[in-house]
Amino acid sequence: MLLIDHAARGSWNMAMDQAILEWVDYHPQIVLRFYQWNPATLSLGYFQRHADRSLHSSSAELDLVRRASGGGAIVHDQELTYSLFVPVAQRLSQSHRDYYDLVHQVFIDLLAEMGVQTQLYVGESAGEAQKSFLCFERRSPGDLILSGFKVGGSAQRRSRQTILQHGSLLLRQSSAAPELPGILELSGATVDYLGFATQVAEAIGERMQVNFSRGDTPVEIVDATKRIEIEKFSNLAWNQNR
């Protein structure tokens, strides 16, 4: 199943990802979703402290949502976001890391066709850079790098039978994170959301041997999203729980 969504608020986007994660547990199939954010939103990694958003003043006015996945904070503004859901028999296998490289390699190939030369980060993930508040100031093997700057990163949430991997491709610099140049600033290239998402879906489908067909979001997923957004991602108890 392929979903290419319109821009939505952060709590809805995260609730939709969880709703699909739960749905795939009962309807095992690979699902690929693309989405954007309106209004621009700061997302915290699952284990980040809410108080730490004070460390980043330029995003202070943004809406906030806590993700179910780990890693650092992300300013979701001028980006393409994807989520990939894969049913698995063994949720802890290290081979699941291969999905990072699979998606990021697709980004590399398609951007190269536009004349944008990105590469995977191959250094160590340890060190002070890993403590940075912003995810895009951290470095982990497999991150997408352009001219020394991180322009793409992904994280996973593993439930019992399904892996959710979601990630961001930084298309343009955001005024809420001026320290992070995007693909436009670093290369001059403009990435069209719908066109690029369609190309990415085709390429991922080829590599995973899946024929993605774009369709409407199943009603039960929409209903679950509404419930999960209220119960969790728009709830202060979740967003400020540490």
Binding site: F47, S69, G70, Q90, L92, R97, S125, A155, R157, R160
Partner: protein, 127 residues
Amino acid sequence: MDPSQLKYAETHEWAFIDGDVATIGISSHAVEQLTDLVYMDLPTVGASVSAGTPFGEVESVKATSDLYSPVDGEVIEVNSTLPDNLDLLNTDPYGEGWIMKVKLSSHDAVAKLLDQAGYEKQCSEQG
């Protein structure tokens, strides 16, 4: 604790049963697969847990995973030093790396857990 004396869930948690109290942790195989653990969420003392449902979370670099309770009951103690000493999961997963103690409300779920041989067979089959 002696790993051969423990019971194991298919989801990689172990349980040491002493009367009506179960000590719970995660297997060395799980720790190896998760790699580079950076954070852990513990349950709250007094919380109810039920077999097969999440009781906590761990984060490794780039991935967050649920931990599933292998038993039914009430959390009576947690290893509160563990989140700040996650290396204990690498060095002593069946001892100092224990996660919680549960007062069992039933032994039904315990009867469904694997012994060490069964668990190792599962791990080898899953690769």
